[in-house]
Amino acid sequence: MHRVLGDRRAIAILLGPALLVYSLIMLVPIVWSLGYSFTQGNTIEGFTGNGGANFSRLFDDPAVRDALWFTLRYAALVTVGQIVAGYLLALLYVFFLKKSSGLIRTLAFFPVVLPTVAVGLLFQKFFQVAPQTGPVNSLLNAVGLDSIDFFGSAGSAFWVLILMDIWRSMGFYAVLLFAGLVDIPDEVLESARLDGASGLRLIRHIVLPLSLPVLMSSLIFSINGTLKVFDSVVALTNGGPGSGTTPLTLYMFQTSFTYSDYGYGSTIALLLTVVCLLVSLAVYRVSRRDLSES
């Protein structure tokens, strides 16, 4: 075995095909897209170089600023929501429901299995005001309040979107964090209880520190998913009203494929990559430090 792996040719033969495929379908398009950032045009008219014009446009474009701000706000709120709700559910499973948590776990996980488009339609109907009054507005009417056109303004549509995405994914994070909580040795909890720690103090000083690694991986998962949100926005509001709920991904898609401006679309994609990279690095760094401390 050692002899085979010591041979350069053998390594080349073993790694070559995978590397080639990887380069062709990942690296080449990435570099290509980077190249597109310096051009203007589309597949019909061809591409012409336009230097750094796309980049200066990127900094002047108010739509990019709005989309970036929306993306960051959305990512922050949904990440916090997903993890807090997931963690609370996991605590519920482990410390309150204990062995009988199976049914609740299944129910909370159910939305994760549903297709996003179905969930989007469900929430549309739930919050709609016309042509029929949806359940939420009926409830408002029942307590004497006026109906609200939730999708009529960017502010309320944003909150419906946040609510939907937390509801949709908290079951997943609950299961992830549940696995982490189950791993905490019973003896540790037992001795903490003997020392007089109970309830909130037990969670604050024993459970939270011991489940920090899995919390951190959830955070990384979550922030990466939410920065690149696309499907749930398209399904629920399609970026509307106006462009009130348009994240960077959707703006990139529209620019490239609806407005057939591939060059500028690539530039927006590059911005998104840089944002993802920075946020990931930051989270990674924080998590490494915390992991080594614990």
């Binding site: 290509w32 019909i44 056109d149 009203p241 993802c276």
Partner: protein, 437 residues
């Protein structure tokens, strides 16, 4: 470790498509020198899933009037959802693989792009050579030329005028006459609202039924060249006389004349509200006659539906007999595959499509109707008469806009009437999208 990967992955669809597209471009560029005017083996037709009329009519013609053409070059229909049509066309054009006949994009801008790069047949020349140019209605030809920079780039498979359909019964019950001026229309709406009837229904989700009202007001107040002036840069949508139009339409929304949640109303819901008598007026194109003539859909009865032009604005420069017209989704033919057999198909279509579509689908096209067809109802007769008498055509709000300005205008229209966007802000946003390049 798994930190960066997902980020890159999100980018992959666009990167990959772009990469694939450019790869295709590269290959075609390499192979282009060999010349590729291979004769088509079938009369392939790329259409959109939403439009069933043209597809069905062509299929029935392939077994009837156009049987000979079909035997030489069999018809083959392929469809894509309308929302992905532009993307598909871009890919096919990049690969030099456009079908013989195809829906030419959601906005004239894309068709013109295709034509500039020599992908679209010169239809005026071809039709004249085939001796069937006179089978096209002159009104339809002038509409196409106004839309496509003075060239006949598409065939008029549809020819529509637009106006306001209204419920005659509800008008009678509320003691209303057909409004001839904008002020009369607004007071009629107020009276209907007081009588517990929703005055208008419109799809805010589609957006265009609302922006059409803005352009309607503009044509009546500033004259038929109002939007041409914007396209040519001689006027701006932010000029006070243009903002006035947006203000008028926003005013209708502010008074609740479009009902609740107009932004969530889709095309079918708006149509249903009108056809079930829940709303008194409905701005729409004459293609709605197919729904109006269908007894299953139309619960108020075709005899209770009337058609009126967009009313005049007092003191305005436009006239009430100038109708917005369009040819529906433009359908065109590829330059590369236009040979004798394709020509047979095209001349057969120009001679027979008009009567087939009218008879089977109640759909009005821009081809001459060569076999007389009885109209299904009075409102159809009225619309056909309007089309033949129309003095001058005008275009709709977004007709001369770029794809981006079109999207921006249509997605923000609902905000304008629900009041979440001020009229000046709306016009400013659209104008910005127009000037951004």
């Amino acid at each position: 470790m798994s930190v960066r990967m997902p980020c890159v992955r999100r980018k992959r669809p666009s990167l990959f498509t772009a990469g694939a597209a450019s790869l295709a471009l590269l290959t075609t560029a390499c192979g282009g020198s060999g010349g590729s005017s291979a004769a088509p083996k079938e009369f392939s037709y790329l259409s959109v899933t939403e439009n069933t009329t043209v597809k069905t009519a062509l299929t029935s013609m392939s077994g009837g009037a156009c049987k000979a053409a079909n035997e030489a070059l069999p018809l083959k229909v392929e469809t894509v959802p309308q929302a992905s049509l532009d993307q598909k066309l871009q890919l096919l054009a990049g690969q030099d693989a456009l079908p013989v006949q195809f829906a030419a994009g959601n906005a004239p801008a894309l068709t013109q792009q295709l034509a500039r790069s020599g992908k679209v047949a010169d239809l005026e020349k071809e039709l004249k050579e085939l001796g069937v140019y006179d089978q096209l209605e002159p009104g339809a030809v002038s509409t196409i030329k106004a839309l496509y920079g003075g060239k006949l780039e598409v065939l008029p498979y549809e020819y529509n005028v637009e106006g306001i359909f209204y419920n005659k019964k509800l008008f009678r019950e509320n003691g209303l006459k057909t409004p001839a001026t904008w002020d009369e229309l607004v007071s009629a709406a107020a009276k209907l609202q007081d009588g517990g009837v929703q005055p208008f229904t419109a799809s805010g989700q589609q957006g265009w039924p609302l922006t059409r009202l803005i352009s309607g007001y503009l044509y009546r107040s500033l004259g038929p060249d109002a939007l041409k002036a914007v396209a040519d840069g001689k006027a701006k949508l932010t000029d006070p006389e243009y903002v006035k139009a947006a203000e008028e339409i926003a005013g209708l929304g502010r008074k609740g004349y479009f009902g609740k949640g107009v932004g969530s109303i889709d095309y079918d819901t708006a149509m249903n509200q009108f056809l079930n008598g829940k709303a008194a007026m409905f701005y729409m194109g004459s293609w709605a006659l197919a729904n109006i003539s269908d007894e299953k859909q139309n619960k108020v009865g075709a005899e209770n539906v009337g058609f009126m032009p967009f009313p005049a604005v007092s003191g305005g420069a436009g006239a009430i007999d100038q109708y917005p017209s369009n040819v529906g989704l433009g359908i065109t033919l590829a330059a590369k595959s236009f040979d004798g057999k394709t020509g047979d198909w095209v001349s057969c279509i120009t001679k027979n499509y008009g009567s087939t579509a009218l008879k089977d689908h109640g759909s009005i096209s821009g081809f001459k109707v060569n076999t007389e067809v009885m109209d299904a109802n009075d409102v159809t007769t009225q619309v056909r008469k309007t089309i033949s008498e129309s003095q001058r055509n005008v275009l709709w709000f977004e007709a001369l806009f770029s794809t981006k300005a079109t999207t921006v205008s249509q997605t923000n229209a609902a905000g304008l009437v629900t009041g979440s966007m001020k009229p000046e802000a709306f016009m400013q946003t659209v104008q910005d999208a127009l000037t951004a390049k």
